[in-house]
């Protein structure tokens, strides 16, 4: 190994340590008893590791319920986003609908609207229909995405014309062409986009924070903040234990499926 190769490794290992340290520190704190947490001196690993923070966290916050909420919301939103995107992209890329260019531009333009700009009217709408603290509130306002329509239109446009023509010659309806030809041939792209949507929704914070303040209707990232108190009385041990319980399954899933997740981000994130 030459000197420059060693230098490269040193740089990369340092970067990895910086990246991993917060997650390590979360875990280490979660295992520390309160006296060690508040010792005010540097200690990398607890001298008397304990699980008491985990039990406290589990009794204070309904972790399983939060998991379930996050899972339901992420799964339904992902499926619905893929569906609405595929339908609209199909109409824009393959069919000839009057005004399709205008509609497409209007869909894509939604990407430029920051969520902070629309959150107040959307919140008022949900509150007006008394839907606060329901799955409907958590799910319905997000089931369309300009990004998804944009990406899938590109994908569908790249399909060979002969494929669709063959379907038309066979007398298939547009609905059949979509489900029997277009969707099956682009399943890799659809799957990649689904991974991206799922991770995004799973991690989402602002919208669930606004519409779900009931202890049992929160999603994981929101429910977690229960331990954070602005007055300085934050319960650090249980907070880190809860964070560990929330993050570790996600990280494990990522490590197991890493090749696939990384590829999804690249294919869905970078258009040709």
């Amino acid at each position: 190994m030459g000197a420059s190769a060693r230098g490269v490794h040193v740089l990369l290992v340092a970067a990895c340590l910086l990246v991993v340290f917060p997650m390590f520190w979360m875990f280490s704190t979660a295992l520390k008893p309160p006296p060690e947490i508040f010792a005010g001196t540097f200690r990398l690993w607890p001298s008397a590791a304990t699980l008491q923070n985990f039990t406290t966290a589990l009794t204070q916050v309904p972790m399983l319920r939060l998991f379930w909420n996050s899972l339901v919301v992420a799964a339904v939103v992902t499926a619905a986003q893929i569906l609405t995107s595929a339908l609209a992209a199909y109409a824009c890329a393959i069919l000839r609908v009057p005004g399709q260019r205008v509609w497409f531009a209007l869909f894509v333009a939604t990407m430029m609207v920051p969520s902070q700009v629309t959150m107040i009217p959307n919140y008022l709408l949900i509150a007006r229909f008394e839907l606060l603290n329901t799955y409907t509130a958590l799910i319905v306002p997000q089931v369309v995405t300009g990004y998804g329509i944009f990406m899938l239109r590109q994908t569908f446009k790249n399909l060979p014309t002969s494929l669709v023509e063959a379907g038309i010659l066979d007398g298939a309806s547009s609905w059949q062409v979509l489900w029997r030809i277009v969707v099956p041939t682009t399943r890799t792209a659809l799957a990649a986009l689904s991974v991206l949507f799922f991770i995004n929704t799973w991690n989402q914070y602002l919208w669930p924070l606004l519409v779900a303040n009931d202890k049992y209707m929160r999603t994981l990232p929101v429910g977690m903040q229960e331990f954070v108190s602005l007055e300085g009385g934050t319960n650090w041990g249980p907070l880190m234990a809860a964070a560990t319980m929330a993050i570790v399954p996600a990280l494990l899933a990522y490590v197991v499926a890493q090749r696939y997740v990384l590829e999804s981000f690249v294919t869905a994130g970078l258009k040709e």
């Binding site: 490269v8 490794h9 740089l11 990369l12 970067a15 990895c16 990246v19 991993v20 917060p22 997650m23 520190w25 979360m26 005010g40 001196t41 569906l83 609405t84 339908l87 609209a88 109409a91 069919l95 000839r96 609908v97 399709q100 209007l106 869909f107 939604t110 430029m112 920051p114 902070q116 700009v117 629309t118 959150m119 107040i120 009217p121 959307n122 919140y123 997000q142 547009s174 609905w175 979509l178 991690n203 914070y205 602002l206 994981l220 990232p221 929101v222 977690m224 602005l230 934050t234 650090w236 880190m240 964070a243 929330a246 993050i247 990280l251 490590v255 981000f265 690249v266 994130g269 970078l270």
Partner: protein, 312 residues
């Protein structure tokens, strides 16, 4: 022979006609309906509603609204909080863009020089913050930055230094937010760069080497120019997303404080609307921000179009 060709042409023509009729069928609109209804209801209607609300004074619970004309806008433009958050958003967006375009590029170039198995390992580790929740990560960083018991300051104490209260000092608060955002988001750009690097043909390097180019020259004259489309994409997406990315760290780490020193426009709207319950005032801020954002995005796309042509 002649007949056969003519017949063939005729069938081809009628096929094209059939295909055109099929594609142009009236049902096409039905496929667009879900997206039209949903974007209309949850994006375009809110934009209109937000603009309308911005001319009213309303506290979120009172049954009566008062029309106040341009009062909200006048108050906003005269307020320190608005200008502070605008300037801070610009500052943070610039810092984030420089860091999350530069750091991942450097790391991707480094990773390219190690063996494939090492490369995979580094890639998995460096990307990991991207898949976890920003809100949960911020809770962890809140603990790291704790002035008394946080690991940052206990480590500094080991070497005899007294670290500041990172999150409540007006000098460091915004930098803490920027640091956390970079930590959380750089991995995506890093992976995009790696993918971009893989598309550069080997022959390019070989040809340059034959011409006697040094390693450094290869980076400057082959890698970076050929990576330009990726870099531009990374640059634009980072800049456009940065105001959005700042929201969660601001909400959890500093609440925009101290004294607006780490506030930004997205969080300001949230604060005005959901903490001070001044819905009309918050909507005026949202509307102004949207306009600023629109101009900046349009400008960016205009500049990007002129520099690089996408498309097939």
């Amino acid at each position: 022979m002649m007949e056969a060709t003519a017949l063939g042409a005729a069938t081809a023509r009628s096929r094209t006609r059939a295909s055109r009729r099929w594609r142009g069928a009236a049902v096409g609109h039905l496929y667009l309906t879900p997206a039209i209804v949903l974007t209309g209801l949850f994006v375009y209607w809110p934009l209109v509603a937000s603009t309308v609300l911005s001319f009213y004074d309303w506290n979120l619970v009172s049954p009566t609204w008062a029309a106040v004309g341009w009062q909200n806008y006048r108050e906003l433009i005269a307020s320190r909080a608005f200008w502070m958050s605008l300037v801070n958003t610009g500052k943070a967006a610039a810092a984030l863009t420089v860091l999350t375009v530069g750091v991942p590029l450097l790391l991707a170039l480094a990773v390219q020089r190690v063996g494939p198995r090492w490369r995979d390992l580094y890639r998995v580790v460096l990307f990991s913050p991207t898949v976890i929740s920003m809100a949960i990560a911020c809770a962890v960083w809140l603990w790291i930055f704790h002035p008394l018991y946080g690991v940052l300051n206990t480590t500094l104490r080991l070497v005899g230094l007294q670290g500041p209260a990172w999150l409540s000092s007006s000098d460091s608060a915004i930098w803490a937010i920027i640091l956390v955002t970079v930590w959380k988001t750089f991995g995506f750009n890093f992976v995009l760069y790696i993918a971009g690097l893989l598309t550069i043909p080997r022959e390019m390097y070989e040809a340059a080497r034959v011409d006697g180019a040094s390693e450094r020259q290869l980076v400057w004259h082959v890698t970076l120019p050929l990576l330009a489309p990726t870099t531009l994409f990374v640059f634009l997406s980072t800049f456009i997303l940065s105001p959005q990315n700042l929201f969660i760290p601001t909400q959890i780490l500093t609440q925009g404080g101290p004294n607006e020193a780490s506030n930004n426009v997205g969080y300001l709207v949230y604060q005005l609307g959901f903490e001070y319950f001044r819905v009309g005032y918050a909507s005026a801020a949202a509307t102004l921000i949207f306009l600023v954002f629109l101009v900046l995005t349009a400008l960016q796309f205009y500049l990007a179009e002129r520099r690089i042509h996408y498309g097939r």
